[in-house]
């Protein structure tokens, strides 16, 4: 298993209240998992805990056999830079940088800006942004911005892609485009994708869905096969890795 959560919980606020409690689950390599639930159900919190962006109040998260809680800040930074890509509801692009510069920001941190430049242009072309590499974010549409954010998340060819409501600020057409990209990345590159969405239609694009209700795992929707926290889910055939987008 690539990601294992062992009875994780998150308490927030004053007085503290449980946002998430006792969640145990496993995510396989190359799986496309969607996390659904109502607003406030804790699905984004779960995503952030699994992705190392947030720390658990109880329990433990293990990625590739490494306990996230035992990793030093430097190791976490390295892990996020090399293994993880994030896509948020809002694109969070740096407004002062051009499209290509935004895409290359993770590579700049890794000192691989030049070696990944050609790949960055490939990503822009694949996501329909060819010829817009020098544009600033304010010169792009909402759909283009989100696709640009996905390109940025993929520049380091991460093993894991965490997407938090990536279609939340898009219209249906652009939303479908973004989910299609995530699906393609998962199938073609073998990137493990965890997507939080409240849209059941987009959630259905995933190999497996888990549903959160009041901070706890609820019934799985379309899952078949392997167990996740005692619930059944759909087994996913491994996809071929390799090949560039």
């Amino acid at each position: 298993m690539a990601i294992i959560a062992r009875s994780i919980g998150k308490r927030l606020g004053e007085p503290p209240s449980d946002i998430l409690s006792g969640v145990s689950m496993e995510v396989r390599d190359r799986e496309f998992l969607s996390i659904t639930g109502r607003s406030g159900s804790g699905k984004s919190t779960l995503l952030y805990l699994l992705s190392s962006l947030d720390t658990v109040s109880s329990g433990a998260v293990e990625i590739d056999g490494q306990d996230l809680g035992a990793m030093s800040p430097e190791e976490l930074c390295f892990f996020r830079n090399r293994q993880v890509g994030f896509v948020f509801q809002f694109h969070y692009l740096l407004s002062e940088l051009s499209a290509i510069e935004n895409v290359l920001m993770p590579a700049r941190k890794a000192g691989e800006e030049e070696t990944r430049r050609a790949y960055a242009f490939n990503l822009l072309e694949e996501f329909g942004l060819a010829g817009k590499s020098d544009r600033l974010p304010r010169e792009l549409s909402g759909g283009e911005l989100q696709r640009l954010a996905i390109a940025r998340s993929l520049i380091m060819r991460p093993k894991y892609l965490f997407a938090d409501e990536p279609t939340g600020s898009l219209d249906t057409a652009n939303g479908e485009l973004v989910v299609g990209i995530l699906r393609r990345i998962n199938q073609r590159d073998g990137t493990t994708v965890l997507m939080v969405t409240h849209d059941s239609g987009f959630a259905a694009a995933a190999d497996r869905q888990i549903r959160l209700a009041d901070g706890r795992l609820g019934e799985a929707d379309t899952s078949v096969g392997a167990s996740a926290n005692g619930r059944t889910d759909r087994s996913v055939a491994p996809h071929d890795r390799g090949g560039s987008l």
Partner: protein
């Protein structure tokens, strides 16, 4: 992160310009104010050092107190009550053993030259014009080695004072008061009741310092004759190889002899007190400018940190560390400090040349320097750079640290709500 820091600064041109101007004006003002102050100070100190000599050895002036004479009259154990306490000066105004001093000075390798002097207050007269002034008797050949008085001679030759006897070198102020020129005679007396001795003006000097330009110089033997104190001197002026040693050497000599030995800076301690006051005013006024500039940088950077919370969060999610975020904001302040300081120093340097073209038409230095003197000592520029850069750095550290401490998850969570 410098790349992104530069982009942030360029994107906020107006705020960047304002922050830059604060540092720019602060460093330029420091350079100019310090340059003018230290330029004049350098001129003054140079005059003190070179025109008057490095060390003065003079007869000690010891004033009588109520019990100064008790032991002399009644023995060391007596307790005396004077109906009229003694007063006045106890000692002679002359150096008691000048030959011993001459030998000591000749033997000291630190001494370049020395000039025995006899200083007397005299009355000059030329026709109906009279003026009281100080007449300094000296060996002109030695005097020009000990002091730079020879450099300020505007008419005649200083060394001619020794030629033939009865010759004088007058300061320009004194010459003006008497209305005489080189080659003309003046009469010199110790006072209205004293004998009158004729002197011929052999040279005129102009130092630019009114006090010095009211002095007059004659040959030592001539002045001794006028004063009625043959073979006596009341002062020895010494020039050292290194003027910085003056105070140290003077203190050592003072401990070894009954004479009063003072260095140029000890003799003019009050001037150094004025310099200290000047420095206090200079540093506090420039400090105020720098504090304003620093607050400007602090405010803008703190605001930028708040505005760029999402950038911070996304950078952290990409693997940028807390240190990277601190560097991102700290480097903005440092870049402003560096560029503002560099431009300020350059502007200060260029403007200092313009200031030097401003002519002075009044004041005590009117005849010595015809324009404002501006020091371009590297230490001024180093101090200005250090002060401006420190202000910018300190102002940037707090917002930068605050940015580094921002938890990315809370920003993202807040953004999603």
């Amino acid at each position: 992160m410098i790349f992104l820091a530069v982009r942030y600064l360029v994107a906020r041109r107006r705020q960047t310009l304002l922050m830059l101007l604060g540092v720019f004006f602060g460093s330029a003002a420091f350079v100019l104010i310090s340059g003018v102050m230290l330029g004049f100070r350098g001129y003054l100190v140079n005059q003190l050092i070179n025109t008057s000599g490095h060390i003065h050895i003079a007869a000690r002036e010891e004033f009588l107190t109520d019990h100064s004479l008790d032991a002399s009259f009644y023995g060391p154990l007596a307790r005396v009550f004077w109906r009229v306490p003694p007063s006045g000066r106890k000692d002679s105004a002359m150096i008691e053993q000048p030959q011993a001093w001459y030998q000591r000075l000749k033997a000291d390798p630190r001494v370049v030259a020395f000039s025995p002097q006899l200083t007397a207050g005299v009355l000059f007269s030329k026709g109906k014009a009279t003026a009281t002034a100080t007449l300094i008797g000296c060996d002109p050949e030695q005097q020009v080695r000990v002091t730079t008085i020879g450099d300020y001679v505007t008419a005649g030759r200083f060394q001619d004072v020794a030629a033939g006897g009865g010759r004088l070198a007058l300061g320009e102020e004194l010459r003006r008061k008497l209305g005489v020129n080189v080659g003309q005679d003046v009469r010199v007396s110790l006072g209205p009741a004293g004998g009158v001795v004729p002197f011929r003006v052999a040279a005129v000097f102009t130092t630019g310092n009114r006090l010095l330009d009211e002095l007059s110089y004659g040959a030592l033997a001539d002045v001794q004759k006028v004063n009625g104190t043959p073979n006596q001197v009341n002062e020895i002026v010494v020039r050292l190889a290194d003027h910085a040693l003056s105070a140290q050497v003077a203190t050592t000599w003072a401990a070894l002899s009954p004479e009063k030995v003072e260095s140029w800076d000890q003799r003019n301690a009050y001037i150094f007190d004025v310099f200290k006051i000047q420095d206090t005013v200079r540093y506090s006024s420039i400090g105020a400018v720098m504090i304003v500039a620093a607050f400007g940088i602090y405010n803008v950077l703190a605001m930028t940190v708040m505005q760029k919370r999402r950038d911070i969060a996304i950078l952290r999610s990409m693997g940028y560390s807390t240190r990277d975020i601190v560097v991102l904001f700290l480097s903005q302040g440092l870049l402003l400090g560096l560029s503002g300081t560099s431009l300020g120093l350059l502007a200060g340097y260029v403007i200092s040349f313009y200031l030097e073209t401003i002519r002075l038409n009044a004041g005590p230095i009117e005849s010595g320097i015809a324009h404002i003197l501006v020091s371009r000592d590297p230490s001024i520029y180093l101090q200005a750079a250090a002060l401006a850069f420190a202000a910018a750095s300190i102002a940037s550290i707090l917002p930068a640290r605050a940015a580094g401490r921002l938890p990315p998850i809370e920003i993202i969570r807040a953004g999603a709500e």
